[in-house]
Amino acid sequence: MNINKNIAISGNGFVFDPTTGESFSLNSIGTEILSYLKQDMSKEEIVLAILEKYEIDNITVEKNYVEFLAILREYKLIEND
């Protein structure tokens, strides 16, 4: 999996993709995950980071993570190898 490294993530939940000119809005967890991805963190590391910070169980985080990545793929913000 590769994240589109050109994207610009702003602190307040906006993402701009200069290759397509499209913009996206995210909630704070979405922004957080996207910046982890940009730092090349693995799925396990990301899930762990979230579990440490938030009041939530492992299964929910994993489920939401997988779903979130599917949307990122759909929006062409990440690509499969």
């Binding site: 939940g13 995210l26 909630n27 949307i71």
Partner: protein, 452 residues
């Protein structure tokens, strides 16, 4: 260190040049209290889903509507439209406020009598009045609004048989400039049918013509349509007076005022587009005041307002069952309230508000009920804050028709509670149990034994 509240990660594409009609952010707050009673507490005590009614809102709305009319006209009478919500507790709030009863079946008629409404304060409308219904209504001096000639002739023969003089009105349908025109009820004005029916009544010494009635439709967004209706009804009243020297006691404008709900597909929310009670009252009262009816003959204006008096007072509380992504990638949410409990979801874009805090982000979501049926759609699309499985929500403005047109289908119907003006919560209809439903059934002996 205390951990933060989690929320599912979301991302939405921003479509520039095509702004969402209500903006991209939710501008509303969670609903955690109704009339200062905690939503979560109600659900803990009475389950999920559960219907909640606010007695205060019912009374306040009624007083607003009444004031709009009495400020403009001396003689005004409301009659509660039973079909809109005929829970006895609800009917009795309206009766305590002074409303008569407006019923459209023997079942509703009997309910009004059992609630203690006196017979002469019951308006009996509709195309389905059986001979025995009419007999009871005649004996009780109820106000019978005739729908068609067959009914008129049945009343004439009953009057002879019972040696009573029934109090009657006719329902008039007409072109008021709006569509659809509800021409299937009553007698038509433009064709002369209404005038013909009035003549037949007035030449009959056994009938007393007391009123004229119309119900031009429902969710009428142009107040002026009522002015057109009033002008035509006043014309009939004037002609009756001229020809028979008989004054009509009342003109009944039926129901039809829009509640502040948003119709499916409407561009603007109902709160922005619906006329106010004052606008309706202005249209209606001027049609009588400016007519040729003489001051001493001014009729009472009767209103059978339904949805506009009760929608705001009703809520249904429920819980998110699941979040799903559909095959086309779009998001959907499954909740435990289906169209079986929220019939009005077929007409309205009901507002769904989380019952707990949420972030300012919204997602484009379809909202489905729990029934295993494709028609079970509560919102085709809605911009909703992120809600998780197990989160609770409040659907507002659902007081009209849902508690009468609901269906016992697949699931059992839940409790209905009312919050009184002293913040006490009362159950006014129990939740259904399997035994209740089974008690209607009978299994013949040869079908009792099964072997599977």
């Amino acid at each position: 260190m205390k951990k933060l509240t989690y929320e599912r990660p979301i991302i939405n594409k921003i479509n520039s040049g095509m702004p969402n009609k209500f903006g991209t952010r939710t501008e509303y707050q969670p609903i955690t209290y109704i009339d200062e009673v905690s939503v979560k507490e109600i659900m803990k005590e009475h389950g999920s889903p559960v219907y909640v009614l606010s007695e205060k809102t019912i009374r306040d709305t009624y007083k607003d509507a009444k004031k709009a009319f009495t400020a403009r006209y001396p003689k005004v009478q409301f009659a509660w439209s039973y079909k809109t919500n005929y829970l006895n507790a609800v009917c009795n709030i309206f009766h305590q406020e002074g409303s008569w009863a407006e019923v459209v079946s023997g079942f509703e008629y009997d309910k009004a009598i059992a609630n203690g409404v006196s017979g002469n304060h019951i308006i009996f409308n509709g195309p389905d009045k059986s001979e025995s219904d009419l007999e009871t209504a005649i004996i009780n001096n109820s106000l019978i609004h005739i729908d068609h000639y067959d009914e008129l002739y049945m009343i004439i023969s009953l009057a002879e048989k019972l040696e009573k003089k029934p109090k009657v009105a006719i329902r008039v349908n007409m072109d008021t400039g709006i569509s659809p025109q509800w021409s299937r009820f009553g007698f038509n004005y433009e064709s002369g049918e209404a005038w013909d029916a009035l003549n037949r009544i007035l030449i009959n010494k056994n009938l007393e013509l007391v009123g004229l009635h119309s119900h031009i439709g429902t969710y009428i967004l142009t107040a002026n349509a009522y002015n057109v209706a009033g002008t035509k009804l006043a014309d009939l009243a004037v002609r009756v007076k001229e020809k028979y020297n008989h004054a009509i006691k009342y003109i009944d404008f039926g129901g039809g005022f829009a509640s502040k709900n948003t119709l499916i597909g409407a561009y603007l929310p109902g709160t922005d587009t619906c006329p106010t009670f004052s606008e309706y009252a202005e249209a209606i009262t001027t049609s009588i005041i400016n007519s040729r009816i003489k001051l001493e003959d001014f009729p009472t204006i009767i209103l059978e307002t339904g949805r506009a008096l009760i929608d705001d007072a009703g809520f249904i509380l429920g819980t998110v069952l699941a979040n799903k992504r559909l095959a086309d990638g779009s998001k959907s949410m499954v909740i435990n309230v289906g169209v079986n409990l929220l019939f009005t979801a077929f007409w309205y874009e009901h507002r769904i508000t989380p019952a707990q805090n949420f972030s300012s982000h919204t997602e484009h979501t379809s909202v489905y009920g729990p029934l295993c049926m494709n028609i079970d759609v509560i919102r085709q699309t809605a911009d909703l804050p992120v809600m998780r499985k197990g989160d609770d929500f409040v659907i507002s403005r659902i007081g009209a028709y849902n508690m009468t047109q609901w269906m016992q289908f697949i699931t059992l119907r839940p409790k209905i509670v009312i919050i009184d003006t002293g913040r006490q919560v009362h159950v006014i209809r129990k939740n259904e149990k399997n035994e209740d439903i089974n008690s209607f059934e009978h299994v013949p002996d040869h079908l009792k034994k099964i072997n599977v």
